[in-house]
């Protein structure tokens, strides 16, 4: 088990180095920031001076080396625009996004896992069909439509819920629902399929032949096995959401999150902010994946023992 965890962590570190490098080269592709920051009407000498000041005149190799050195010493530089350390800027935005993500994920799991189990058990009856129809609908409606409908109904017409910002617990309701829509649909379907696979296994029959009550058979013997399949899917979905999913919803509800920051800094070519922002998201995704890998081994003894 320990070897397995170590191996997962080493893989994670390698991925991280690759991403750090990719981020550097990808951001350099979009043009020179000096043109954007200062605009027209700057003298040739001043322009050269600024480029030298930011170190943008050095060869790409030297820039890359400096960049690596600063990344690994924990310095991510100042924003070209705001002149504040980018770590401050990004981390200030990351927390609200993370809170929203946690809220959406918790809501999703609480709703979709039980629904998926129900849909699997009652697959031939009306209950199963209703759950699946709802799940398909959820899958078909994009998050921004759910968001706008929610705003129209609960914000504009009924005036029950606040629409802008992240001030109170009530502020979380609509963005959480908007983000969760598709996630609930996806995870409900995956739970159902995973449970259907498990329900027909021989060991379920053994569990019943032991005289266990049905709910223990389903939850202890069934869900434990289905969770192995589910874990990987849930991990992927959450990672996807962390990477990009919430940008649109954050825009609708003026959520002071990282999505909005990334889009703005990309447009303005604020390299340091963009780099650090992308890096933070990448780290979150990698950490989620590593966590899932380790949880996977925890859930399935065959993996744990096979891999040391």
């Amino acid at each position: 088990m320990l070897t397995y965890v170590l191996r997962t962590l080493v893989k994670m570190a390698i991925t991280l180095v690759v991403i750090v490098s990719l981020v550097f080269f990808a951001t350099r592709l979009s043009g020179n920031p000096v043109d954007f920051v200062l605009g027209e009407g700057i003298t040739r000498e001043d322009r050269e001076l600024l480029i030298a000041y930011y170190g943008l005149d050095a060869s790409i190799g030297t820039q890359y080396w400096r960049y690596l050195a600063s990344v690994f010493s924990g310095e991510f530089g100042l924003s070209f625009l705001e002149r504040r350390p980018v770590s401050q800027i990004v981390l200030g935005r990351a927390w609200p996004s993370l809170k929203l993500l946690l809220s959406a994920v918790s809501f999703t799991l609480i709703v979709s896992v039980p629904l998926g189990i129900l849909a699997a058990i009652y697959r031939t009856s009306i209950v199963g069909s209703v759950v699946m129809v709802i799940a398909f609908l959820g899958y078909a409606v994009p998050a921004f439509i759910i968001g706008i409908l929610l705003v129209l109904i609960f914000g504009y017409t009924l005036n029950w819920l606040p629409v802008i910002g992240d001030g109170s617990a009530l502020h979380f309701i609509m963005p959480t629902l908007a983000i969760s829509g598709m996630l609930v649909a996806a995870i409900t379907r995956f739970t159902r399929n995973a449970m259907l696979d498990v329900l027909s296994q021989d060991y379920m029959r053994t569990a019943r032949a032991k005289g266990l009550p049905e709910w223990i058979v389903i939850l202890k013997h069934g869900l434990r096995n289905a969770s192995i399949t589910l874990l990987s899917v849930i991990g992927l979905q959450i990672a996807g959401l962390a990477a990009a999913g919430s940008v649109v919803v954050e825009a609708i509800f003026a959520w002071p999150g990282i999505g909005d920051l990334l889009v703005r800094s990309a447009i303005l070519r604020d390299y340091p902010v963009l780099q650090f922002g992308v890096l933070s998201v990448a780290i979150v995704v990698i950490v989620i994946n590593a966590t899932v890998d380790i949880a996977y081994a925890y859930a399935d003894p065959r993996i744990r023992l096979a891999k040391g």
Partner: protein, 559 residues
């Protein structure tokens, strides 16, 4: 004797419109073993599941009848009992051991927890007491090191040990009735002998009635007091075991008995040719273990260790040994489906080892393989005429327009109707599919056919037909067979010579009759001793000293 523990009266079970069991009646007394015998589809398992009232879960319905269980002071009709009461009975008064020990235990729960569950449920023990009781239960079924097993997962145990765990769970609450559904069909013959003995001993100890479901008459002779023969859901015959074996009444019972291979009765006396088709010299195959990030590759295990065999034209060499001994690896190494480490293979005078890819491909035409599972080894999307002529197409032996003619000739040779060539694999039964596999192998006119457990998945009477077909093809075309099986009875009947394999090595080779009559190697003797004699011996005093066998250490690690 008091009344029966279980009385089944006029039981009718159907799946949809198909009636699987048609008015079956029988009863079982305490300390008695009733064998329910029949081929697949006869309704044996449906009956077992109906008694536990788990048949509804499998999509079946009990149409009518009574299932009366003597529960001490009252008699309960299980057919009308409510769910809550049923769950109290299952695993408690009636329990069941299933056929597949490899899949019947929950892979993600520890052995200890799975056994303890029964005590927690039916004896209301705390988890700690239940685990202690579980350890005793494992000890009772003679599992070595029971304390360590509690913390292990099913995949760490061999098939035989898993089946012991299943029996420990089933007997945990000392049931009045134990249902065994083909409990040893998936096991090696040596393991089977141990498990059968264990069930008998525990029956003597606990005194439960046993309903023993099997298709194997050898096992019936070993276990049963009385026998009910089932066919298509109807009782054909019911008799005491010695009467059935001495004088089977119904024609079907007679056929069933005749199809069962009996050791020491049927070895082949036909002549074999002398020119050698296959010659294998000191062939070794190693399974390397993979290098990890922090560990370097270990030496791996020698799955095949210096094996030398030869097969002549028109000869069948039987290869026997228990699962994991390297039989299949040897077969695959010979055809270089797995790359051997060292040694030479000469097929029809040409070297297979050391030849280039193109040469190897040409040589493979001379050797074809038939596998165990006729359901998995036929592509479901190809019509039969393409399916069975594919090897000939690959080797360029037939043009596209002659394909159907060739297919028609092939299906005729394996005893199928000509119109079979337009159908698909799923429209055939297991035995017919195995015929298709043989037809496919024949399409390239091979010199040698390697049959890897080719009849193990089939009912005895069907298996008999398939081996008869092989013998017929051999007599007509002089085919050489390498016939791999764990079933010594079948091997004896088809083979001229037999090679016994144990832990990757051939320990003994010889003419079939001679080897079986006078085995020289200790392992061969052990293997033969484990084969059911086919002679009913009721209440036979068993020789002591058969204990829980372990898988060879080099195999148990992989799970």
């Amino acid at each position: 004797m008091s009344g029966p523990v279980l009385a089944v009266e006029d039981l009718r079970i159907s799946f949809g419109t198909h009636e699987a069991v048609k008015g079956l009646s029988f009863n079982i007394h305490a300390r008695e073993t009733l064998a329910l015998v029949g081929e697949s589809g006869s309704g044996k398992s449906a009956t077992a599941l109906a008694i536990l009232r788990l048949i509804e879960r499998e999509g079946g319905t009990i149409r009518s009848g009574r299932i009366l269980l003597d529960d001490g002071d009252t008699t309960l009709d299980l057919r009308t009992l409510g769910d809550a009461k049923l769950t109290r009975l299952r695993g408690n008064a009636i329990s069941m051991v299933f056929q597949e020990p490899m899949t019947s235990l929950n892979p993600v729960l520890k052995i200890g927890d799975q056994v303890a569950e029964v005590f927690i449920r039916h004896r209301s023990l705390s988890r700690r007491d239940a685990l202690r009781a579980a350890q005793d239960a494992l000890d009772q079924v003679r599992i070595p090191e029971p304390a360590r097993r509690l913390d292990q997962y099913p995949h760490e145990l061999s098939g035989g040990l898993r089946q012991r765990v299943m029996i420990a769970m089933a007997l945990a609450c000392r049931p009045r009735l134990l249902i065994c559904d083909e409990p040893t069909t998936a096991l090696d013959v040596t393991t089977q002998a141990e498990i059968l003995l264990l069930i008998k001993n525990l029956q003597a100890e606990i005194g439960m009635g046993v309903l023993f479901i099997t298709h194997d008459m050898g096992v019936v002779a070993e276990m049963a007091d009385r026998v009910v023969v089932l066919r298509n859901g109807e009782k054909i015959e019911e008799a005491l075991v010695e009467d059935l074996f001495a004088r089977p009444q119904a024609a079907y019972s007679q056929r069933l008995m005749a199809a069962t291979p009996k050791p020491g009765t049927g070895s082949s006396t036909r002549a074999a040719g002398t020119d050698i088709v296959l010659q294998v010299d000191s062939l070794s195959t190693r399974f390397a273990s993979k290098a990890g990030l922090f560990s370097k590759a270990a030496d791996g295990v020698l799955a095949v260790n210096g094996v030398s065999i030869k097969v002549a034209r028109g000869e069948t060499l039987g290869l026997v040994g228990e699962s994991g001994c390297g039989k299949s690896t040897l077969a695959r190494s010979i055809l270089r489906l797995i790359e051997p480490e060292s040694g030479t293979v000469l097929l029809d005078g040409k070297h297979l080892t050391g030849s280039s890819k193109a040469e190897l491909r040409r040589s493979r035409k001379n050797a074809q393989m038939i596998f165990q599972d006729p359901y998995a080894s036929l592509n479901p999307r190809l019509p039969v005429h393409e399916l069975i002529t594919e090897p000939a197409r690959i080797h360029g032996l037939v043009s596209r327009k002659d394909q159907k003619d060739l297919a028609a000739r092939l299906v005729a040779r394996v005893g199928l109707e000509t119109d079979a060539i337009h159908r698909f694999a799923h429209q055939f039964s297991g035995g017919q599919r195995q015929r298709l596999c043989i037809a496919r192998a024949l399409s390239v006119e091979p010199k040698l056919i390697v049959a890897d457990e080719a009849v193990s998945a089939l009912d005895v009477s069907i298996a008999r037909q398939i081996t008869d077909l092989m013998l017929e093809l051999q007599d007509r075309d002089g085919l050489a067979f390498l016939f791999i099986s764990h079933d010594i009875g079948v091997v004896e009947r088809v083979s001229h010579r037999i090679a016994v394999m144990y832990k990757g090595e051939i320990v003994e080779t010889g003419p079939a009759a001679q080897l079986l009559a006078a085995p020289r190697h200790a392992y061969t003797r052990r293997l033969l001793a484990a084969v059911p004699s086919g002679i009913p011996v009721r209440r036979r005093k068993q020789a002591p000293g058969v204990s829980a066998g372990e898988t060879p250490a080099y195999l148990s690690a992989s799970g």
